[in-house]
């Protein structure tokens, strides 16, 4: 970005006012859903919550360039805002946390936080951290083999970055210039273990050089910087120039999960200071300074978001519970009947094949 450009930053990046307001709204909505679910957890309606609070700026911004219905996402357990930006509704998210029988992610089979959705090209997540990164690379490999114009994006924490599979994934993507974007949401902790005990040298992005790809560090509180990095990565991927590793420095505003209490390993002053890096007020300030967001506008937006979350949780709660009747089903796909019959050549891509 040329510093002589006098347009606001978002315009430099090719974003209109409606875009940035949309991004801001997406952040507010993700936060509201998240906060609502903590309430539901305390009320005993949701068994467990693992939160994305503090990560919303990076998540909305890095997911924003992804093309719905075309691109693919392999998220992680904090990816509420990413998954929502990529297509999941507030109702989808809450339904999954309530483990309802028609939840799009797993029909109540998985714990909260295990996103997935065949209609959205979001591949089902498991719990062992980092496995999803190879799936994104595999999707990108599939697209590359078939010549499809598809980009895969995946996200994970900085603790997870130390799993061997991440290394294998990035190296393979680098060897073949696969169309994949790696987003590391570095919040400085892996449960209780701080960055300096976790990542030698302290920078995940520094590893990109060893995989022949660009590595970019962005401030997760700077939404437009995150967007710019992701847009560039998406463009590179589409141009066949290969993968990008984005490390977004974010804050974890909550404990690791509803099972954790971060006061056991984090100073109160440290926790207090995190609020200053909350991406929501930071982005709001920028939008206000540019005159894009007004008090009125924000108030309307917040009211809408609140109504949406109310509505979503009401509808989600009304959905049916799963029953054990078919808990033994869908272990295997249907067997192919008879021998020797040719499998029809189905189109690939889209909607979990």
């Amino acid at each position: 970005m040329a510093s002589t450009d006098t347009r606001p930053r978002h315009a430099e990046l090719g974003l209109g006012d409606a875009d940035v307001l949309g991004m801001y709204r997406a952040m507010l909505l993700a936060r509201a859903v998240d906060e609502r679910m903590w309430l539901m957890q305390r009320a005993g309606k949701i068994a467990f919550i693992i939160s994305g609070q503090g990560h919303e700026g990076a998540q909305v911004a890095t997911s924003w360039p992804m093309r719905k219905g075309t691109d693919w996402m392999a998220p992680y357990y904090r990816s509420i805002a990413s998954a929502m930006t990529f297509g999941m509704s507030a109702e989808d998210i809450i339904t999954a946390h309530l483990a309802k029988g028609d939840d799009v992610s797993s029909g109540g089979r998985q714990m909260p936080g295990h996103y997935g959705g065949a209609p959205y090209n979001i591949i089902s997540l498991s719990s062992p951290v980092g496995t999803q990164v190879l799936h994104a690379v595999g999707i990108a490999m599939g697209a590359w083999v078939r010549g499809d114009d598809v980009v895969a994006m995946t996200s994970f924490g900085e603790g997870t970055a130390n799993q061997g599979e991440i290394h294998e994934a990035m190296n393979f993507a680098g060897v073949h210039n696969l169309p994949v974007i790696f987003v590391c949401e570095n919040n400085g902790y892996a449960i209780s273990v701080p960055l300096e005990r976790q990542v030698a040298g302290g920078s995940v992005a520094a590893r990109a050089a060893g995989y022949g790809m660009p590595g970019v560090v962005v401030d997760g509180g700077d939404v437009l910087a995150c967007y710019g990095a992701a847009k560039e990565a998406h463009d590179r991927a589409k141009r066949g120039e290969g993968p990008t590793l984005i490390e977004a420095r974010v804050v974890r505003l909550t404990s690791h999960s509803s099972d954790d209490d971060q006061r056991r390993y984090r100073d109160p002053s440290e926790v207090e200071a995190l609020k200053e890096r909350d991406p929501i007020p930071m982005f709001a300030n920028e939008l206000r300074a540019n005159g894009i967001l007004t008090d009125d506008g924000e108030e309307t937006m917040r009211a809408e978001v609140k109504a949406e979350v109310n509505e979503a949780s009401k509808r989600a709660e009304a959905r049916p519970e799963p029953t054990p009747d078919d808990a033994h089903e869908r272990v295997y796909a249907d067997p192919i009947p008879g021998g020797g019959t040719a499998v029809p050549l189905a189109p690939v891509g889209g909607g979990g094949q």
Partner: protein, 328 residues
């Protein structure tokens, strides 16, 4: 004698062994300042310091492999895998390396180390925080596999495991961590690896179990005695490898009937080994088919409480299976 729960017993075992042998160290994710996600190592970091209670990066392969290197070098590492479900990134080190270094080096190297893993379901952990994956390890020659069901056994067996010259995988059923308190002998009391225990005497059939299933089987046995007049003998295996065949066969010779119970799915589960051994070696004593009761053939415990209840094995299902076998 102190009254401890299983979690406290495990913590006490580590504490005592670290006191008496400065080669003993702990490593794993969040085992330090936080004291482990279940609290098993609480207080040890403050007592033994940053190196002997070492928070590692999030890499189970590294935990297993580095523990092995340190064990070969002369330490006695106790590695914690946060959930048994997350051991697979370390599978290569455990199965290729830790289990085989003694044999492959013709006995000139060994890896005296312990891998502790919380396992088992019934805690709303779904597919990936509920697994009972012992059968992947019991098949592995070179490992010893322990799965205690009481506080005294947990403490005594963990102490034995830490002292053992071979690698030991130590399975802790997480539902039992705080399930009950029971007396644990004070002082330096160990429970030997490789010995099952008859937890309840009976004459009508034998129930073989371990870990949390011990508690369930004992409860089932009381029901059977009260409601059916059936006296079930409950054998808690405690060690899965080496298996105490002597105790197992003696029980079957007495009762003529064997029910094998575990939470892992049935097909290829550890129960198959017990059943196969009994059916081969006690063939002439059997008055009924060796029966297995195990988790359903699905890829894991589903999350929703109704589905989880459907999955889990508890006293009522053991009672049902035992009734059927007793009536045979």
């Amino acid at each position: 004698m102190a009254e401890l729960n299983i979690l406290e017993a495990i913590r006490a075992a580590m504490d005592e062994e670290m006191e008496r042998d400065e080669r003993v160290m702990i490593l794993g994710e969040d085992v330090g300042r936080k004291g482990g996600v279940f609290g098993a190592t609480e207080g040890l970091w403050a007592k033994y310091g940053d190196k002997r209670v070492l928070d590692t990066p999030l890499s189970e392969g590294m935990i297993a492999g580095a523990a092995m290197g340190a064990a070969v070098y002369g330490l006695r590492p106790v590695a914690e895998i946060q959930f048994a479900d997350f051991v697979y990134p370390g599978f290569n080190q455990i199965v290729s390396e830790i289990s085989r270094i003694h044999y492959r080096s013709n006995g000139t190297f060994s890896a005296p180390m312990v891998i502790r893993m919380p396992y088992g379901g019934g805690v709303h952990g779904a597919l990936y925080h509920s697994q009972s994956n012992e059968a992947y390890f019991t098949h592995t020659v070179g490992l010893k596999i322990v799965a205690p069901g009481t506080p005294a056994d947990a403490k005594g067996l963990l102490k034995s495991s830490i002292r053992d010259p071979d690698p030991v995988m130590f399975f802790e059923h997480k539902k039992t961590y705080r399930l009950f308190r029971a007396e644990v002998p004070d002082g330096d009391t160990v429970v030997p690896i490789g010995k099952a225990v008859v937890a309840r005497e009976g004459k009508d059939l034998s129930i073989f179990c371990y870990g949390f299933m011990r508690t369930c089987a004992l409860e089932a046995a009381e029901t059977l005695a009260g409601e059916d007049g059936v006296e079930a003998e409950v054998v808690d295996l405690r060690t899965l490898r080496p298996l105490d065949l002597e105790t197992i066969l003696a029980s079957v010779e007495k009762t003529g009937k064997a029910l094998v119970v575990h939470e892992a799915n049935r097909f290829g589960g550890f129960g198959a080994e017990i059943a196969a051994e009994i059916s081969e070696k006690a063939f002439e004593h059997l008055d009924g088919p060796v029966t297995r009761l195990a988790g359903p053939e699905v890829p894991g415990v589903p999350f929703h409480h109704a589905l989880e209840d459907w999955f889990m094995i508890g006293p009522p299902r053991i009672v049902d299976a035992a009734r059927k076998l007793a009536a045979y």
